[in-house]
């Protein structure tokens, strides 16, 4: 590598008092009079929206499993899981977004393990009242189309420099996600984790019987299905579950 070449010095002394600024503005005037100016007549003309533009969040109801990762990662805590009645599923939890607080960072779509949260190209969101800014899960729905999903492709630190391609953490991701672990002594076999798990990744396995004859169950976590949402952690009555980082 060579030392960079210094830039040629240009003569920037004012020539003819102030003729140059006048000439430049005149050139622009002639150009804008002939062609149209740089400004856009907004309601009639619009800027081109790029692929992956981050407008308001959108939700694909069928894909959502109600894991609550979006609620946890949201920096402004504008996402809240609310109970909704769904056909065929009964009462389930789905995200509701308060767009008055949303800053369109796209984290919910990025960290969503099922690509149920989307970034939509909708940006005209003004309403007349703050109530109207709260989008319930049904209003939040958006058609599931390519370009709105945000993929999260990462490599493990150990793979750095090995020429490894990234792995998407969405879909089947055994060994790429953090996995919960159960601490044997603390667990009281309550099966709560099995009930709250949104991805059906927890199965209670009988490992023996206690002195009263009741079965002792321990959860088994399925690495293929687990989405690392930490619902089991939060709901464990004895704090017996911890996350094991990959």
């Amino acid at each position: 590598m060579t030392e960079p070449k210094p830039r040629p010095k240009r003569n920037l002394k004012p020539k003819g008092i102030m003729l140059r600024p006048l000439a430049v503005t005149l050139r622009v005037t002639l150009r804008t009079t002939k062609n149209s100016p740089a400004t856009v007549l907004y309601p009639w003309e619009r800027l081109i929206i790029a692929d992956g533009y981050r407008g308001r969040p959108g939700l694909v109801m069928d894909k959502c499993i109600g894991c609550g990762i979006c609620e946890k990662i949201c920096p402004t805590t504008c996402i809240e899981l609310v109970e909704v009645e769904l056909e065929g599923k009964g009462k389930v939890k789905r995200p509701q977004v308060n767009l008055g607080r949303c800053m369109m960072c796209g984290y919910c779509a990025e960290y969503c393990p099922k690509n149920a949260m989307l970034v939509t190209p909708e940006y005209e969101l003004a309403t007349y009242s703050r109530q109207d800014l709260i989008y319930d899960p049904f209003r939040l729905q958006y058609e599931d189309r390519p370009g709105c999903e945000v993929d999260l492709i990462e490599i493990k630190p150990s793979e750095l420099g090995t020429g490894a391609k990234g792995h998407s953490i969405k879909g089947a991701t055994a060994g790429l996600r953090d996995l919960p672990q159960v601490e044997d002594k603390k667990c009281i076999s309550c099966s709560k984790c099995e009930k709250v798990c949104p991805a059906d990744a927890v199965t209670m396995i009988e490992v023996g019987k206690n002195e009263k004859g009741r079965p002792i169950k321990r959860p088994k976590f399925d690495g293929e299905k687990c989405v690392a949402c930490e619902q089991c952690l939060d709901n464990c009555p004895k704090d017996a579950i911890t996350m094991k980082e990959v």
């Binding site: 960079p4 800027l47 800053m103 796209g106 984290y107 999260l152 990234g166 980082e245």
Partner: protein
């Protein structure tokens, strides 16, 4: 009464944000000046202590709207230093490219603000017109126009879109032809030269001692640029000049920034050419050990930005300290202003490139 205090701010066209410049004037000559800040204080550092590591990135974007990516990038660098994360080569190059694009955007906005300060709305609109092109590039890259949320601890959010190279090359070619327009409006206008030359003198000694950094420091003739002298990301592999002017006045500071725009264009071109293939994001640890510290400093468009971060054993930092360049530079304002006229205040403070979001934090 021969002297009076004049409050320029907090609501004043000169201030570019919320701060108060109290000047004591004798007629129109400034005899004393006292910047008052804190109107925009949001407790950013305390807020960050209550956020998870990834959640701080969009917050860091809001430190400065002019060059938001350089702040979130700085946060990521500091966190990587603390966690000991290495990032992929390609991510380094992408970061270099967007940082330089941010630098151009920030400098364009500064030029625009300087234009309105000096009374020319034309100088406001021309740079803003070209800044729009860079916003469009960023929109293609990461989906947002101003607060990008693009760098991540361990890389960047996504790989560059298709046509990235073509778009950048086109915009840069167009932009490079536009810079002479600004120079014609500013450099080659006698009145602009009269307004900016020999005002706001800050000698090299003063500038060093008062902690003035970045283009303001180089305008005082000190040859120091963190990009070259403490290289981060891919700057070590790229050839560029450090723009230094010996004038020590507002015009020198202006000139440094204009030259830096040319340099940034060159840097982006080189980086695009050298960009390797590969992954762009390493999985970072979710938590950081307690008591582990790390700091990183970068050449922000406005000067030296530094973040010092301490881990807490869980997924939130224990302490995050931000050094904002303008916070220190504005403390040097009394030295720049003393002895000049009230009419020189806009050109002096305009040449400093104020940004209150990062100053008050």
């Amino acid at each position: 009464m021969t002297e009076m205090w004049l409050n320029m701010g907090p609501q004043h066209p000169m201030t570019h944000g919320l701060w108060n410049l109290r000047v004591k004037i004798d007629g129109e000559t400034i005899t004393e000046a006292e910047p008052v800040i804190g109107y925009l204080h949001r407790g950013w550092e305390k807020l960050a202590e209550h956020r998870m590591y990834p959640q701080i990135i969009p917050m860091a974007d809001r430190l400065c709207y002019g060059a938001s990516m350089s702040w979130s990038h700085l946060y990521c660098m500091a966190a990587e230093e603390m966690m000991g994360v290495e990032i992929p080569e390609r991510a380094k190059y992408i970061r270099t490219i967007v940082l330089e694009a941010q630098r151009i955007g920030s400098h364009l906005m500064w030029l625009a603000a300087l234009g309105t300060d000096l009374g020319s709305y034309t100088i406001f609109l021309y740079p803003m017109r070209e800044r729009e092109l860079f916003l469009d590039l960023m929109q293609n890259l990461c989906g947002a126009r101003m607060t990008y949320n693009y760098p991540r601890i361990g890389g960047v959010r996504n790989d560059v879109p298709p046509n990235f190279e073509r778009d950048f090359t086109k915009v840069l070619d167009h932009f490079e032809k536009r810079i002479p327009d600004y120079e014609a409006l500013c450099d080659e206008s006698t009145i602009f030269r009269m307004r900016t030359e020999d005002v706001g003198k800050l000698t090299a000694e003063q500038a060093k001692n008062l902690g003035v950094t970045g283009p303001n420091l180089r305008g005082s003739g000190v040859d120091y640029d963190i990009r070259r002298d403490d290289p981060y990301e891919a700057y070590a592999d790229i050839d560029f000049n450090v723009c230094v002017q010996q004038g020590c006045d507002a015009y020198a500071r202006y000139r440094v920034r204009m030259d830096e725009m040319y340099e940034s264009v060159d840097i982006i071109r080189q980086a695009i050419k050298k960009m390797p293939d590969g992954p762009v994001r390493v999985r970072p640890p979710r938590t950081a050990p307690k008591g582990k510290t790390g700091f990183a400093h970068v050449e922000d468009p406005r000067g030296e930005g530094l973040m010092y971060i301490i881990g807490n054993g869980d997924d939130r930092p224990y302490r995050l300290k931000v050094r904002s360049p303008i916070f220190v530079t504005v403390s040097a304002a009394p030295y720049m202003l003393k002895g000049y006229k009230v009419a020189d205040v806009p050109s002096i403070m305009g040449s400093v490139d104020m940004c209150l979001g990062e100053t008050d934090r």
